[in-house]
């Protein structure tokens, strides 16, 4: 992998390569270019799941002429697909080098330990939602129970914006969650449930199940479950599996076409 990356930079296939370098005993994101080719020997896989695609997007926005390479986990590749579909990236701006490691339902191979849900506590099982549930399990609950369990989960939110900040497919420069006319701003606890349902609606056709939001959430709201329920609706109603292709998405196209 290190040799491939080095050769990509040397041959001019990419101007920069974003990968992880072992620094102080931890794989930290690092940019490799012609200026620091020797450091390519220290490239390691991105086992801590940094949102490298967000770094690449920021760089691509500031310098649209650059060709950027990126060490891509399976979720990174899906998010790059989405960014292309939603016109945030040109096709050749970012070149991924695949690193297959994903246990999500959306991917084929698996090695990532982050998406294995840990054992859920008793209180959470009684009043809230076990993150290990599938969307079908939630649908089987009666509507009253569904409502009260989700309201419990949303009420824990402290509006840290962690989920939105780390999401690789959240690319809006002006976020509706910070717009005072749409969602109540300026108070400590977020407006339940509008904050989360707004986020859920924005994740329709965009969430690629990388799990970074749930990892980032300090109060353990089962966000992966929420967004997988949302994308299940998109799959059922529009026959569109998010992130698997670079074709236009139903919710990205004006008019009534679905493809």
């Amino acid at each position: 992998m290190q040799k491939t990356i080095r050769s990509w930079i040397e041959q001019g296939r990419v101007d920069l390569f974003i990968a992880c370098k072992m620094s102080y005993g931890h794989p930290l994101p690092h940019v490799f270019s012609r200026g620091n080719l020797d450091e390519c020997q220290q490239i390691v896989p991105d086992t801590f799941k940094y949102p490298l695609d967000k770094f690449a997007l920021t760089l691509a926005r500031q310098h649209p002429e650059l060709k950027i390479g990126i060490l891509a986990r399976d979720c990174t590749q899906r998010s790059l697909n989405i960014l292309r579909v939603w016109n945030q990236l040109e096709p050749d701006q970012i070149r991924p080098l695949p690193l297959s490691c994903c246990p999500s339902r959306l991917a084929d191979s698996c090695d990532c330990s982050y998406l294995n849900p840990g054992e859920c506590g008793q209180w959470k099982k009684e009043v809230g939602l076990d993150p290990g549930l599938s969307p079908e399990d939630v649908r089987d609950m009666p509507p009253d129970e569904r409502f009260s369990r989700w309201m419990y989960e949303f009420s824990k939110c402290i509006k840290c914006y962690g989920c939105r900040n780390i999401c690789p497919v959240c690319f809006c420069r002006e976020c509706s969650l910070e717009h005072p006319d749409l969602v109540q701003t300026g108070q400590f606890l977020s407006e339940v449930p509008i904050f989360h349902l707004t986020r859920a609606v924005h994740m329709a056709g965009r969430c690629i199940d990388c799990g970074l939001c749930e990892q980032a959430c300090p109060v353990d709201i089962p966000l992966r479950l929420l967004y997988s329920m949302v994308n299940q609706i998109v799959l059922d109603k529009f026959d569109y599996q998010t992130g698997t292709s670079q074709e236009q998405a139903p919710l990205n196209m004006l008019g009534t076409e679905l493809a």
Partner: protein, 79 residues
């Protein structure tokens, strides 16, 4: 586009127990009668469904929840 979003949103709200509270109609400014009819019908439909869960019996007391979380051994990640 709106119709796609509405289909999706109706499903989403149904998933949260807020079924049948959202409706989309295309009415031109010259179709006053249709407007009256739709609004009356929908108002009756909503009224018959009772108060919204957001303001009804499921109103959540946030500080009780936080207290419950701190007292109970909730989730191992929080320990």
């Amino acid at each position: 586009m709106t119709s796609k979003r509405m289909i999706f949103l109706q499903e989403l709200l149904a998933l949260f127990g807020l079924k049948d509270r959202l409706r989309l109609e295309w009415i031109s400014s010259s179709e006053a009668q249709k407007f009256v009819q739709v609004v009356t019908e929908f108002t009756e439909q909503i009224r018959s469904m009772g108060p919204s869960p957001l303001h009804g019996k499921h109103k959540i007391d946030r500080f009780a929840i936080t207290g419950g979380m701190l007292n109970a051994k909730d989730n191992q990640k929080l320990d």
